[in-house]
């Protein structure tokens, strides 16, 4: 994300909010209000040592408002960020090196999800003390996750099922 782009948002306090990062990943165009869930889905918690900036409800011409997450000194792999599309289908990923965007892409739902979501069937083997990681096959339109163990389908309230 460069400064010029931020200016186009026409937002106030842009210095504070959108200061460029030297190296790392910027996740832009996150559905407003979902930034914290994005961190959760990426496994970034309070114990992370990386510098993480979160901007929520930032005015956006295209989206009305949006969230932005910046993670410094860490380049997220496509596979990691694809999960983000579960809750923020329009998110874009910018990989930054030396203040330059060297790679930019949209998130795309993966065909399989492992260990990200919890099956909503209480009687599913994946919700027991058995050594088993939840696994889903993904249908993209509409977004439906089918548990490979019990066949239950999650189609709504996806954030509630994040592990």
């Amino acid at each position: 994300m460069n400064k010029k782009k931020n200016n186009s948002d026409g937002s106030m306090n842009k210095e504070l909010r959108v200061r460029p990062i030297r190296h790392g990943t910027v996740i832009d165009h996150i559905t407003a209000g979902q930034a914290l869930n994005v961190l959760k889905i990426l496994g970034i918690s309070g114990t992370t040592t990386a510098v993480v900036s979160v901007a929520m409800n930032v005015p956006s011409k295209v989206m009305g408002s949006k969230d932005i997450v910046k993670i410094e000194d860490r380049e997220l792999e496509q596979e990691e960020v694809d999960r983000v599309s579960l809750i923020a289908p329009n998110a874009t990923i910018n990989i930054i090196r030396d203040f330059e965007v060297i790679e930019k892409y949209r998130v795309d739902l993966p065909e399989h999800l492992e260990g990200v979501m919890k099956c909503d069937n209480p009687n599913c083997i994946s919700n027991t003390s058995e050594p088993v990681i939840s696994k889903f096959t993904v249908n993209k339109k509409p977004v439906e996750l089918r548990c490979i163990y019990c066949d239950h389908v999650i189609s709504e309230g996806i954030t509630e099922h994040l592990i």
Partner: protein
């Protein structure tokens, strides 16, 4: 690669046809013709939930093919009560046996067991999930006693919790069967399954009484409304005994109608129906033996 038998969804129509065809060859052996096809092989049966016919028909199939059977015994006296996980039990038993038949109260148990097992897992029912060997014996019964082509079938009873009908309906959709689902409103087939069936191109309609379709079907597939699957006993009382197949009802039936039931029955088929030409449920339970012979032989790599 190990061939596990977990869900009907793992089978293509061609594979099912091969299994049904092979089962014809096993039928004489199921009726007592001596065989030593599986001599020297050991089958382990792990039943974490009670079962009579499924367990006994697997044992019969294995023994009539000359093999041996070991079992877990009553769960309450096994290592399960010491807190051993299913994953561990499977890895241990897999070192003793050439294949494992598993029934477990949790959905997806067989799929997980397959991930840990070094021998084939045959799913004999996982909670409200799958029961593929029942489905295959149902298909075999229809093939032997009626016909799988241009089939008009009605599935009656608990279509919500009944795992048998879910698997069967899915398999029948591969044969483009014309299906009528008969159940009280609160026991209708879940939408997600109906959607799957339609995606497969099946013709599916729903009604609440058998009388609506009895004159227009080849197979009447009756299921028990299972008390043990109801979270609320009051809900069970509302629908218990709602369907009853009687001689009176059958007066309107087609001549070639057959009646099937996975058994055990409670009161959904009147005993007087047993002696009519329509009854096929005891033949159906017999066909469990040759079908399971085929599946055991396939799992153990001898056919």
């Amino acid at each position: 690669m190990l061939r596990h038998i977990i869900s009907m969804k793992d089978f293509s129509r061609d594979e099912i046809d091969i299994i049904l065809k092979n089962t014809m060859d096993f039928e004489p052996r199921a009726r007592g013709q001596l065989s030593s096809l599986l001599s020297g092989k050991v089958l382990a049966t792990l039943f974490y939930e009670p079962s009579t016919r499924t367990r006994l028909s697997f044992e019969t199939a294995m023994k009539r093919l000359g093999g041996e059977v070991i079992d877990l015994g009553p769960v309450e006296k096994s290592s399960v009560v010491k807190g051993e996980t299913l994953a561990d039990t499977i890895r241990v038993i897999g070192n003793y046996a050439d294949a494992i038949v598993l029934r477990h109260p949790r959905e997806g148990a067989a799929r997980m067991a397959a991930e840990y097992s070094n021998v084939p897992i045959i799913n004999a029912g996982d909670g409200a999930g799958h029961h593929p060997t029942q489905t295959l014996l149902d298909l075999y019964t229809i093939m032997r006693e009626s016909s799988l082509s241009n089939l008009k079938i009605a599935l009656v009873g608990d279509l919500k919790y009944g795992r048998t009908v879910h698997s069967l309906a899915y398999a029948l959709s591969m044969y483009h069967a014309d299906m009528t689902l008969i159940s009280p409103k609160q026991l209708q087939m879940p939408d997600v399954i109906k959607k799957d069936l339609k995606k497969q191109g099946a013709s599916v309609s729903e009604t609440t009484t058998i009388e609506d379709v009895i004159g227009d079907i080849d197979v009447l597939y009756v299921t028990r409304i299972q008390k043990e699957r109801f979270p609320d006993p009051a809900e069970y009382q509302k629908v218990a005994g709602i369907y009853r197949v009687t001689e009176e009802l059958l007066k309107k039936a087609r001549d070639n109608l057959i009646i099937m039931h996975p058994l055990p029955r409670v009161d959904e088929i009147d005993a007087a129906v047993d002696k009519t030409k329509y009854a096929r449920y005891f033949e159906q339970s017999f066909y469990g033996v040759p079908i399971r012979m085929t599946l055991l032989a396939m799992a153990m790599g001898v056919v």
